[in-house]
Point group: C2
Chain length 360, copies 2
């Protein structure tokens, strides 16, 4: 087992990585009373809920099983968590535990942030994407029909259990979606890690435990370092949005859940890298290496055929990264070095959107 | 004009009290961009929205007018604020301004806490109750059908404008409801202020500006002092709930909006004082002085005839103040000195509930 400490002062917390799901000694120090509410979904519950609950048999456990998928990440579904907590008289010393992927984590974390104005929260991410991404940074929230993650809170968990064994039951598409975020950390700030990925990406797809543990830890370290510098996203944290402004536009246009978040980010990173090259910031080799790595990770490298440039511009301009009407994008100035700019020529942006549109 | 500084470290903010509504020089230093969203309701809008907007004519103002009343303080109404913000492309530098009473302030503050995970927030309370209570402390939120204020956040405004002139258009019932919270500060921690109120309560009902300014400032000072000691409500802040556990039960049982919050707190304080006397903590003179002051303030001193003891116990046990199944109540050990106890004999509690039930 590896332990990573996310350093956020009085909100610091550990991430335990390895065979940790049913090791209740890890979690017990972080429970604040006998009440626990485990929030999970219809896919994860049959696989891991029983074993996880058994390891916590000394506690009074309320189980909330949500429908699966990004399309249910909304205020209505959130309210069903509150319904259950109140019906079962959970008080402000309760602990909400998210057992599931990013959607479960985001909603459970936001429910914990809001229930009685804030209760204890623990994350047990069961997808690769949520292990490397959602479990670090304290971003919680739900979608609105006019924009993704528009309603939420910054709220830190008390601890995170990232179990590598559960990834074996993950569909290949979701594994790839997680690898997209892992590649992101290489691209935006860690060229050495990008090179490691060029050597080991197939190992990740094969669910090789050693490779996964290394990739999860290194991704979380990269993210934790950035988040610790900038908890409320006013500066360098924006780098983490590499590929996301494009990606969110794709997710919104196609309807949440059609594209996996990681898939949209994969295509979005390709767009950001393509744009960086067209603007003369990086050379063509970075484009081809990124393209090759994404393809080997079985990720899309093009946006949907049906999306027009106008749709991208419209949807990207409601993104949270827009300030005072100017589109701000995270681009690369070299492999492993991101920066933020609002100085993007609309013509070059159009070239990128045209070049990265699927022709299928 | 009087200025009170609420000291919360990096979240400290000023409260401006007096003829301040259209003095935009007070508010401008706290605006973070050209975007403003003013949230108000159908009662306040015709009275003050136009004048307030005119004073801010240099800004791009989005007006959101909500239905009036506690019965609309829910997630659905909250979502209509998000709808408008997103439809008008408000970004994370926008400022939400609450122009209205406690319900408007609680909802707007919670919307500001959640929109894009937190945007700038300013409060312009237009009722006496919200001026002395909701505008200090950072409590924001909405109701759930199973409990009041169960969903929310601690979120501080950047500044508060408490205008005394607007109180002249306030219905007498609402003025009295505000006086209930003012009396609370006397009872729980400021015996000298309680005595001042015994001399001046009619002046408050007459909307005497000098008396109101003094009472608002002193109440806010009392509250600010308690909140500064205990921002997240783990200790002394619980004293502010004097009368509220009973009061919330009344509000929930009767349906939100039937009793005004301050009215329910008035009857609730009478119950807390009655219980304190029956438990031998205070002498009868405190009971009779409290009763007399509440009556002079035109506040109810009894709970609804239709509510049974069982209803009270059930509803009080979902209150946020309940920990590990034990009912915790704020009681008095002398006039001007509150404390929290979970050591309440159910028989004596029943006596209080029976004695304070209306026979009408």
């Amino acid at each position: 087992m590896e332990t990573l400490h996310v350093d956020l002062g009085d909100r610091a917390y550990p991430i335990f990585i390895g065979s940790v799901l049913t090791n209740s000694e890890l979690i017990k120090p972080y429970l604040t009373s006998n009440q626990i509410c485990i929030v999970t979904n219809t896919v994860v519950a049959p696989l891991y809920l029983e074993a996880f609950c058994e390891s916590l048999s000394d506690y009074s456990i309320l189980k909330v099983i949500l429908p699966d998928g990004e399309s249910h990440k909304d205020l209505d579904t959130l309210n069903t968590i509150f319904d259950q907590l109140l019906a079962h008289h959970h008080n402000r010393k309760t602990t909400l535990i998210a057992l599931g992927g990013g959607v479960t984590g985001d909603m459970t974390g936001f429910a914990a942030a809001c229930y009685q104005r804030g209760v204890n929260f623990i994350q047990v991410p069961t997808t690769l994407l949520s292990q490397v991404d959602s479990s670090v940074g304290g971003k919680t929230g739900v979608n609105h029909k006019l924009g993704k993650n528009m309603i939420g809170a910054f709220y830190q968990p008390k601890c995170v259990l990232a179990d590598t064994d559960v990834l074996k039951t993950l569909p290949q598409r979701e594994l790839s979606a997680g690898i997209a975020e892992i590649i992101k950390y290489g691209l935006l700030g860690d060229a050495e890690f990008f090179e490691w990925l060029e050597e080991h990406v197939e190992k990740l797809l094969e669910c090789d435990r050693e490779a996964l543990t290394y990739a999860i830890k290194r991704s979380c370290e990269n993210k934790a370092q950035i988040v610790a510098q900038d908890e409320k996203e006013s500066g360098v944290r924006a780098y983490l949005n590499l590929g996301h402004t494009f990606g969110h536009a794709i997710e919104t246009a196609m309807g949440y859940g059609t594209w996996l978040h990681g898939e949209a980010v994969g295509a979005g990173m390709m767009m950001a890298v393509d744009l960086s090259a067209r603007m003369g910031l990086i050379d063509e080799s970075v484009v081809s290496r990124t393209k090759s790595l994404l393809e080997r990770a079985k990720l899309p490298i093009q946006g949907p055929a049906c999306m027009t440039n106008e749709q991208y511009i419209d949807l990207m301009s409601v993104d949270k990264k827009v300030l005072d009407g100017r589109l701000r994008l995270v681009l690369l100035k070299s492999l492993g070095e991101a920066f933020v700019t609002s100085d993007v020529d609309p013509k070059i942006l159009a070239e990128t959107l045209n070049a990265t549109r699927s022709t299928d």
